[in-house]
Symmetry: none
Subunit: 195 residues, 4 copies
């Protein structure tokens, strides 16, 4: 039973990321519930509000970012330039853009007040910053020392840039110019190496 519930929860998070990535951040939660094979009330049991779901998707993503950064750190010891390219490629595959819409939302102001929490330290954007951005900043610093990455680049810049590039597009645009995403990715990779 416990395992069942956990699997269900994971399924919802996964479906949510896919659907956000495909249809943008304003999809009806009922669509996510349906795609996950559960009722809307079950989704709400797991994620009491829309923001909680977004936060969970972000957390999931943060973990994957951390994994990628960790791996890149190892690779950087041997070949800094290759490590950077591998990292960006992996981050691009995460479809960070799926959350570009959701990230803007101020998370749970009510709960914050209840907890007496800081002004907006718990926004989804901040949730990425705390664990993942620190690790990323650290890695970038290493690679900058190795001259593999241009100076003056923050980890947050990288995340936002990749999210911008992978942000979901309406179908007609995606279909009319499908190669643009790859072109922008290539351009960004090249740019981060120069300077």
């Amino acid at each position: 039973m416990r395992a069942d519930a956990a699997r269900r929860r994971e399924a919802i998070i996964t479906q949510a990321r896919h659907i956000f990535a495909e249809r943008g951040g304003d999809v009806a939660l009922e669509a996510i519930a349906a795609a996950s094979g559960v009722g809307i009330a079950t989704l709400y049991r797991n994620f009491p509000s829309r923001e909680d779901l977004i936060a969970a998707v972000v957390d999931d993503m943060v973990q994957q970012i951390l994994d990628a950064v960790e791996e890149a750190k190892t690779e950087a010891v041997e070949d800094a330039a290759a490590a950077w390219e591998t990292l960006l490629t992996r981050l691009l595959d995460l479809e960070l853009g799926a959350l570009t819409d959701g990230l803007g939302v101020q998370a749970r102001p009510a709960s914050n007040v209840a907890r007496g929490g800081g002004s907006d330290a718990a926004s989804p954007l901040a949730r990425i910053q705390q664990p993942a951005l620190d690790a990323l900043d650290e890695l970038v610093a290493v690679l900058q020392d190795a001259k593999a990455v241009r100076g003056g680049l923050r980890g947050l810049d990288v995340i936002v840039a990749l999210a911008t590039i992978t942000r979901p597009q309406a179908a007609p645009i995606r279909e009319a110019a499908p190669e643009v995403r790859a072109q922008l990715a290539e351009a960004y990779l090249a740019w981060t190496r120069t300077g």
Copy 2:
């Protein structure tokens, strides 16, 4: 009152572009009406549906693209590389991203169906294509001959790329990483020149 009305209409189009650029394509039309200093019904008198308003903004933008391309053509005679940079800079200022959401919408589906509706060329995206993309394609070809722009680049790619870069971001993201837009623009310009 004719002059008054025309001025009001222009104001609505201008405000619509600004607000689309700031808050995305799904803002309440009432917000645009309020920002334009008119009642909601006045907006509807001028633009019977949301798509009509988007179409008007697109038309306006197309005209500005055409102007920019025209000017770039002149400049290209003297200095192809400078012309390309000037052009991209001007296009970036147009905030093409303001319409990224709107562009996905199929314009006037009812009429399309009435006409028997295959992939009728009247989508907002297509409306840009007809006049502006042709001009842009022509200019790109010239600059490619002059080795100022990489090969294999279509005008449509350029528009979509710039729209992606200038697409409206939720306020927290914009504020947290305000320099990313410029970085992506720089990266893209550099990339289009290589190859």
Copy 3:
């Protein structure tokens, strides 16, 4: 909750017929929802559009027409003239006029278009025709043979005539001349017997 919902759904249909009969076919759906003791969204969950609600009321009415015709067929074996009078009286009580406004609406135009939409037989009027008008035509034919009903009368004529007679009137008219409905009914009954 299944049983609850079904009862609620029935209540909405019943209230809708009453309110259509009293206030015409263009009442606010919110009024029907309120009279049924539910919120507007509950009405919409059960009947996704105004036409779906009308269709449900029509279906309900068709069933009652079929019942009345069935009973009249039995009675006709013994006394054709009495059967006809009983039938008309029962049909008058159904307040067919409640749907005169709604019947004019083309049901689900979108789907019709999607299907390629000629004069697709799914209009509310046609929905009455298929089951109920056939039964009524059959009965009328029998009674015509028995000389209880005049020749040249179609079941559809009867339905439309009774709907015209029982059509909702604005309160001042209803109150100023309340006996007119009965007079018209009497006149129509007499007329259908002559000829």
Copy 4:
């Protein structure tokens, strides 16, 4: 100029009756203005509110009823039965049903208050009563004495019955059973003669 304005006013009244008869009582006033070839503001100059326009149409109709009654009185001297049939036929042609929707409206409550008028003596329905119903009652009494019309029939009943019969129907119904109006008229005429 005066003649021009008067003609315009007449045109509006005539168009209003036709459009009410065809499309029911809830048409947009702008449609009537357009059909009359004037701007909406001109319609409002002539008829300060929707009810004023309805009242004008009613007044026009009352005059025609009076004319018909007057003529019937003359004919009744020679042949009471023929006079009655002629009268009903003429009244049917007036399309009294065009105003069935409008008649229910309480006319100008504000003005009534201003004039200190009786409770609702100025309702459109009452406006028919005062001049036309009196004349009609008088004629009916004469014909009843001549045994040409059944007893117990008020002029108001006749007007409401004919309005019910000639009330505008939605196009699909009208087209599906176009003969019903004539059938009901025939039935009503026959019924008024028996008794």
